[in-house]
Amino acid sequence: MEWLWLVPALVVLLALGLWLSWTANRLDRIHHRIDVARASLDTQLLHRSGTALELATSGALDPARSLLLVDTAHQARAASPEDFESAESDLSEALRAVLADAAEVTGLVTSPDVGPLLEELADDCRKVELARRFHNDVVASARALRSRRRVRWLGLAGRAPAPEAVDLDDDPPPALVAA
């Protein structure tokens, strides 16, 4: 009858195993979500710089501002993964500088030629901000889970590098989003 103690021991082991595999599953799901969120952010950023280029070449702005926009938008699109945060922040700053005059922006938004383009740009700017926040939100949950003892000691996170939050200035031009 001594083997009877084996039964509870096996049950405990089984429960522990299930719990650990559930945790590993959770981690895997979160890492996947980060990839999806990052891809979404990249898409929104590409979309924004594309619209900025279109605005720069639309002829609605004076040459000085057009040149500034073309340059920063190109830099943002060509930036390496290490530099994209600063390049995109530069684009945000350039957009704010170019669209600083509230009265002019209101006029442009209502004009039939560039109005739709500016609306698209406003939409893009908002969505960049949303996508960046949603990405960082998942990163925060991932980091919280990865810091758990069971995850660290048993290496449940595998060899996946610790996810990093994206830190960039994505404040839209105030006049653009107010309009």
């Binding site: 996947h32 979404s40 898409t43 939409d123 926040r133 949603f134 889970l145």
Partner: protein, 373 residues
């Protein structure tokens, strides 16, 4: 877009979250989206066609008060069927951190999930405890929205991350064009209070304590009280000679509330705390009525730190009395604030708020269409 909204509380009982869900559903339908709302309902009263019943709500003690929520195996099965039949591009849950329908929907969902958090919770200890239980499910949420900076702070403190703030919406024109009720006006100026009359946090006792002084300085003043609760207890607080100057309208329809806000000269919000947003302040601003509110943080923010309305020291009846008397006497002091408020309130209009929420949907759907898991 096929959008599924989940409201955790019974739709036939008035409340901030319920109103928000109904208004949002209508705004989204107006934009041409397919919308279905899953919500508990009390009885077989007629519901708008876009509402799907999740079953009865049972009252349970939760977080220091009584919440009417629905759960259990039957409800869970209905949630799964609703998700299957709806085949939604995105589902939008409200108040998912409570033991309710929203949590069940989150559990069963396989499409992208957006969640809106309405409360700014002072009972941090309770929420910290539940945060660890909730975390695995909350990880399924793709996008988190808070309705105010305060709701956002609560969320960041307990769960972390970077929620987006999108304020509650108001149909501004419903208030701006509400009918003015001459029969509710007094011989002098008219004030208005909105909120449950027997809930001390809404602050009616404070206003009633200040009322005799107000009546003395402003003869013929009338106070309209909009909201349910025990009238006789509240009446006892008013001196007998002034009782005919305080009119209790009881629980009103939305249209009557809008009329009351539009009719009066000054809306007073003496709430002592526990407010995360202050939607009635926005509604009064939309109705073009001057606002006087306690200086709790949520209200100060809505009033633009004094740009759109006046504040008084929270829980200070003497200061409340002084400010009411000052505002009633000086029509010029109210005018510019009212004009600034009417302009500022446009950004809370559903036309703009719904657009921002749709941007959130588009962002999460865009990211999920590449791969869903």
């Amino acid at each position: 877009m096929r959008i599924g909204l989940v409201c955790p509380y019974s739709l036939d009982i008035p409340g901030g979250v319920q109103n928000h869900v109904k208004d949002l559903a209508e705004a989204l339908l107006g934009l041409g989206h397919d919308v279905s709302v899953l919500a508990p309902t009390e009885d077989d009263e007629s519901m708008p066609p876009y509402v799907v019943r999740a079953g009865r709500a049972v009252p349970v003690p939760y977080n220091g008060s009584v919440a009417r929520v629905s759960f259990g195996p039957v409800v869970a099965a209905r949630v799964r069927r609703w998700l299957r039949e709806g085949d939604f591009d995105v589902i939008h849950l409200h108040e998912p951190a409570s033991p309710s329908l929203s949590l069940l929907a989150l559990w069963a969902a396989e499409c992208p999930v957006v969640a809106t958090f309405h409360t700014s919770n002072v009972r941090s200890r309770a929420m910290s405890a539940s945060a660890s239980i909730l975390r695995p499910s909350l990880e399924k949420i793709t996008a988190r929205i808070a309705v105010s900076e305060y709701a956002r702070d609560t969320l960041v403190q307990h769960i972390g991350g970077e929620p987006v703030v999108i304020p509650n919406g108001v149909y501004v024109d419903r208030f701006a064009d509400a009918q003015v009720r001459e029969d509710w006006k007094g011989p002098g100026c008219t004030l208005c209070f909105v909120g449950r009359i027997d809930e001390p946090r809404k602050g009616l006792p404070l206003l009633l304590d200040a009322f005799p002084g107000i009546a003395e300085a402003s003869p013929g003043v009338r106070l309209l009280v909009v909201g349910g609760g025990d009238v006789s207890a509240a009446q006892d607080r008013v001196p007998a000679g002034l009782r005919d100057q305080v009119t209790f309208l009881g629980r009103t329809t939305d249209a009557e509330k809008a009329s009351a806000l539009r009719t009066v000269d000054l809306y007073v919000a003496p709430n002592t705390g526990g407010e995360s947003f202050g939607i009635v302040l926005i509604e009064a601003m939309a109705a073009g009525t001057a606002v006087l509110a306690s200086d709790i943080p949520a209200f100060r923010r809505v009033l633009g730190e004094g740009a759109y309305g006046t504040g008084f020291r929270n829980e200070d009846a003497a200061d409340l009395e002084r400010k009411v008397v000052m505002l009633l006497r000086d029509d010029l002091a109210r005018g510019p604030l009212r004009e600034a408020a009417s302009a500022a309130v446009r950004r809370y209009d559903w036309s703009s708020v719904a657009g921002r929420i749709v941007q959130v949907y588009e962002t999460v759907i865009g990211s999920a269409s590449r791969s869903v898991r």
